[in-house]
């Protein structure tokens, strides 16, 4: 009952914050512009995998109308901070629409915002379709990914806040939806944190590990909904998560850990500096890199495969006919989707598992003097 109420509340909140705007393009996109060639599909998928500055649901084919709501753009340009709604770009992603913010002219090109060099009015491109007279700006926009993160954070706060309140009210055994969440928390604690970090020290890392686990999991699952989030498939997001792990384990490293890393005992003295370099690179670069690439690549690949399989419906229509291609696409996409649900959990688990493993390495006390 409470869960139902809070879901209603979220829905109202979302609609209150972003009023859906529907508008036609100024003839930029011709009506009846279906995505039906392999080239267009490829571009569409590539576009989806990137972050976006508005929340796009779908485009009506005949009228060319976009059903979406705009999100705030916040950019740091050479002339200071500029904020406006992304609707000012009119869904243009090819650098054609120039937004004039007084002293600064901005364009959106392949989901990135560029600032035109002073005096220029249109973007010019070189042979590789790279802008020649514009440079990228620092983009702090509330993009689709940021909305996804905020949504995930809000969901976590509501769900686990409810669980915590239940305990505070004196219920020793949670009821309702909280009953599902409790075993998950216990799972992270007993199966991930305790075995890897150790019974004595796991407690102070639980906040990070639990937050990251549920954050990644919820975002992975959000990515599977038709809302089209691809948050954990953004390399900036996974990089940030990995860097948090690195900072945590480097700062909580014990004397033993640094001793073993920088001056490995039991190894010839000549080898020790070489080993120290290798170990340092391992801990500072390779381990976080493996974390961030694994999550990014798995989720990106998942989205890519699911979208490609859905697109089979169109690409195979020529050779197999509409019914066979649709059926094949449905069956394959469903199959991969089920796997992706597993992957969503698995990647959250692996990220948390490896983070706690690395933290465990850093806080370990070596009893055996070798």
């Amino acid at each position: 009952m409470v869960a139902k109420k809070s879901i209603n509340f979220i829905t109202v909140l979302v609609f209150a914050l972003f009023s859906i705007s529907t508008y036609a393009d100024d003839g930029e996109q011709k009506p009846g512009n279906k995505i039906d060639t392999a080239e267009e599909i490829k571009e569409y998928i590539a576009h989806h995998l990137k972050d976006s500055h508005d929340f796009h649901f779908y485009t009506h084919n005949e009228s060319g109308k976009h059903y979406s709501f705009p999100l705030p753009v916040i950019v740091w340009t050479s002339n200071g901070l500029k904020t406006f709604m992304s609707s000012e770009f009119h869904h243009d992603d090819s650098g054609k629409v120039v937004v004039d913010q007084g002293d600064t002219k901005l364009v959106k090109l392949h989901s990135k915002i560029y600032e035109l060099e002073p005096g220029e009015t249109t973007v010019s491109f070189d042979a590789d379709h790279h802008a020649t007279n514009a440079h990228a700006v620092l983009d702090f926009s509330i993009t689709k990914s940021v909305v996804g993160m905020l949504l995930a954070g809000l969901l976590m706060l509501l769900a686990f806040g409810a669980l915590a309140r239940g305990y505070k009210k004196g219920k020793t055994i949670p009821t309702g939806f909280s009953r599902v969440l409790e075993p998950l928390v216990i799972y992270v604690r007993d199966e991930i944190a305790k075995p890897n970090i150790g019974e004595k020290k796991y407690r102070k890392f639980m906040g990070f590990l639990l937050t990251v686990f549920f954050f990644i999991w919820i975002l992975n699952l959000l990515g599977l909904t038709p809302l089209g989030f691809n948050v954990t498939g953004q390399i900036a997001v996974t990089a940030c998560l990995a860097i948090f792990t690195v900072i945590i384990y480097l700062f909580s490293g014990t004397k033993d850990f640094w001793g073993h890393t920088l001056w490995m005992p039991g190894v010839p003295y000549l080898l020790r500096p070489i080993l120290a370099v290798i170990e340092l690179i391992g801990f500072v670069v390779i381990k976080p890199f493996s974390l961030l690439v694994r999550l990014f690549a798995n989720i990106t690949a998942g989205h890519f495969v699911v979208m490609s399989l859905i697109a089979l419906m169109i690409t195979l229509k020529e050779s197999f006919g509409p019914v066979a291609s649709t059926g094949m696409s449905l069956v394959l996409a469903l199959f991969i989707m089920v796997i992706e649900i597993l992957v969503a959990f698995l990647q959250a688990f692996i990220f948390t598992m490896l983070s706690s493993l690395f933290i465990g390495m850093a806080v370990e006390e070596h009893d055996d003097h070798h």
Partner: protein
């Protein structure tokens, strides 16, 4: 790799960092800390309950053993008491019998003594009576016989003979 670096958005990285920090802080304060504390308390409670149940079981076993022992002791005590009582009873019966026997013997003895003395008295009296009768007879005989000397002698002899027979 080039594509990856190109897709990396420093702004998104920054936003993510801020959101993650705020989220971690909020989640620790409003969710993880109370949840983990409550779980810990509950698990400790369960452990305590299990421990005390184990203890109670042990105590119960001890109590049972005690009861068993007490029962055995009581049974043994009863046994000895019964035995003593039986012995006492036998002794009392034996004593009583002995006493009665002694009493009877004594009575019999007394009776015999009385009979003896009565007999003696009776014999004495008989003797006396016989003596006096004899004397009387003798007197009469003497009176009648003494007139004849031969007869007197004959009488004396016969009487002497009689006396010896007696």
């Amino acid at each position: 790799m080039d594509q990856l670096l190109h897709d990396f958005s420093p702004g998104l990285f920054f936003m993510q960092a801020i959101i993650l920090i705020i989220l971690i802080v909020l989640m620790i304060k409003f969710a993880w800390k109370p949840i983990l504390d409550a779980l810990q308390t509950r698990e400790d409670g369960i452990q305590d309950a299990l421990d005390s149940a184990e203890k109670a079981k042990l105590e119960m076993a001890n109590l049972n053993a005690d009861n068993e022992r007490l029962l055995k002791e009581a049974r043994a005590e009863r046994e000895t008491m019964m035995k003593e009582a039986r012995e006492m009873k036998a002794k009392m019966i034996a004593d009583a019998k002995e006493e009665a026997q002694a009493e009877a013997n004594k009575t019999i003895e007394n009776a015999q003594a009385a009979i003896e003395s009565e007999k003696k008295a009776a014999v004495a009296e008989l003797k006396n009576t016989v003596a006096s009768l004899s004397v009387e007879i003798a007197e009469k005989m003497v009176k009648s016989e003494l007139s004849n000397k031969d007869k007197q002698l004959e009488l004396v002899n016969s009487m002497l003979n009689d006396a010896k027979l007696n």
